[in-house]
Symmetry: C2
Subunit: 345 residues, 2 copies
């Protein structure tokens, strides 16, 4: 089945991802011995074109399906039916990593909502609330890119790192930053794709594709900007095409800015555009040139190939990150059986 | 006394700051009742030209002196003598907010050191260790700008905010970011002044003054860059001079980048250049234009004058931040009397 998913944003190219049935111990005593190994979590990576839903406890124990994004009722209904059916009443919590913009302030009435999306049926929709009411379990909730960052932190390219950036370069450009082991939220949430960059119009007269800013990072370096500039999708441009040097230049300018602002221990570059493996070497070389030895850290100056890296979880980063969100929600609630589903309102 | 301190960097224009003697209760029972109100902390704001040292517990209870920065032995000796003398054996901890670059990784042998400074006598000097050995108390240690951020967070313009940026615009440009209530360190520490910006050379042919990057934020908008571009110190340029619109443009580009990367709840702009109060209105207007409504937060779109603000602690931010570092070091160590000074090595 093909729902016409655009490249990038972490969910590109997913078929049905996992078939391995959930086989972990379900006995109550198992929870006491090793909560992480035997918990039963639900995960939803909510995209504008499809929902990827999963039940399990980690990459080696994950049953996954895709549901096309239609109306909230139909899509949530199918997601909830899958989660409830597969979990057999033992679901501990559900994590949702969603397209946005989102309400992430726990003290705001809009917490858990998709807010000002152009998709009218989903605008101001209480996504977290709908799933919580249907399943009666704690809900973890964050952006899709923060979800992917959490997944890579737990099982992927940022494993064991308390400070890193996950940047997705695809239909749009978005970043999730982990600082001191926690995802940055702040006032709203970061919008790393929208920083402004030096733009040499003599070298690159293309004005940029961002409807808000023109030539911000996303405006100059997203997949659609490449296609508009060169008249062909990025995936059709051969490695020797000048597009890639320019793309690496803009991405390195962005990465250098994040290095100076956040001082991360690693930068993970994912998304459809980064499927071009040759791009990593170009970005690393440009980054070293831009920093010019100012940030004195051998992790960058001597080991840049371990500093700017591809993701390890590929298209599963988002849904695995949603699983981490579920675990966090479960821990926040504390041990004990989940309550019954609340009455619908 | 004038030690020729250049403007900006948080320590400009300080004379002897505080004369109020330390009068708080010293009885042991007081500590149990309210540790914060009655603790006795030492603070050192270590600058390349002078050390500002203080003893006390907060802005209303602070005795302060200045010591010129000469050799480590003479400067540290005078600082330690002041702290020990004023504290009368009751010093709980000392905080140091220092010029850098610094070793901030607690697991590294260079922790507590000033590392690659051009000041030869101070290069690779174990500043935190020297003070700890002399006084025998826990030491808190961080950059000068992180210190200023902590001071403003505790008593100043960022009071009560868990997520904000303190940016100093003076001889250089540096930033301290607080995320989730903690100062960002990461791999090294942020170098926010060195992000690259769009630079329209038709409008501003000045190439920038940064020896590493030319036209990064610091290269285009620091005090020395203004003086080099316009042939007069920033403080001599009248408010109607075109310098200020250009300066506001660059600062707003920087602020917009930090908004997109960190999603702070406030940005505090300090340092010598920001003494020009008229600059704040220009920066705010440029910021709104640059963001162009993309970040949907009334805290920015409707209340920008509370979003981009001057510091409240003025030149005392750094030394008060060092006091916060002392308190943190004391809490990390736990209650109980300080041990005797360790034998010198």
């Amino acid at each position: 089945m093909d729902y016409g998913v655009p490249p990038g944003r972490g969910v590109s190219g997913i078929a049905v991802l996992g078939r391995k049935p959930y086989t972990a111990c379900r006995r109550a005593s198992c929870y006491a011995n090793s909560r992480t190994a035997f918990d039963m979590f639900g995960a939803i990576e909510a995209g504008g074109t499809k929902f990827v839903c999963a039940v399990g406890s980690g990459p080696d124990d994950l049953e996954t399906i895709q549901i096309p994004t239609t109306s909230p009722e139909a899509t949530i209904g199918a997601a909830v039916a899958f989660l409830a059916g597969r979990a057999g009443g033992e679901l501990q919590a559900v994590g949702i990593a969603s397209f946005g913009p989102l309400g992430l302030d726990p003290d705001s009435p809009s917490f858990g909502h998709i807010t000002s999306t152009p998709k009218l049926e989903w605008r101001n929709f209480d996504l977290a609330g709908a799933v919580r009411r249907a399943l009666g379990v704690p809900i973890g909730f964050d952006t899709d890119v923060n979800g992917a960052a959490l997944g890579e932190a737990r099982w992927g390219a940022a494993k064991g790192l308390a400070d890193f950036v996950y940047l997705t370069v695809g239909t749009g450009i978005g970043g999730g930053a982990v600082v001191g082991g926690r995802v940055i939220h702040g006032l709203v949430h970061p919008e790393m794709g929208h920083i402004r960059l030096p733009h040499d119009r003599a070298r690159d007269p293309y004005p940029g594709i961002c409807p808000y800013h023109g030539d911000c990072l996303e405006g100059l370096a997203s997949g659609p900007s490449m296609e508009a500039r060169w008249g062909a999708p990025a995936s059709d441009l051969p490695p020797e095409h000048p597009a890639w040097l320019l793309e690496a230049h803009y991405l390195a300018l962005g990465v250098a800015s994040f290095v100076c602002t956040l001082s991360p221990r690693r930068i993970v570059l994912g998304g459809g555009v980064m499927q071009q493996a040759h791009l990593f070497g170009l970005v690393r070389a440009e980054l070293l040139e831009l920093l010019n030895g100012y940030v004195q850290a051998p992790e960058i100056t001597e080991r840049v190939s371990e500093f700017v890296v591809p993701p390890l979880l590929g298209p599963r980063a988002g849904v695995l990150g949603a699983l981490v969100l579920a675990e966090q929600a479960s821990i926040a609630r504390g041990p004990g059986p989940a309550g019954p589903p609340a009455a619908p309102d």
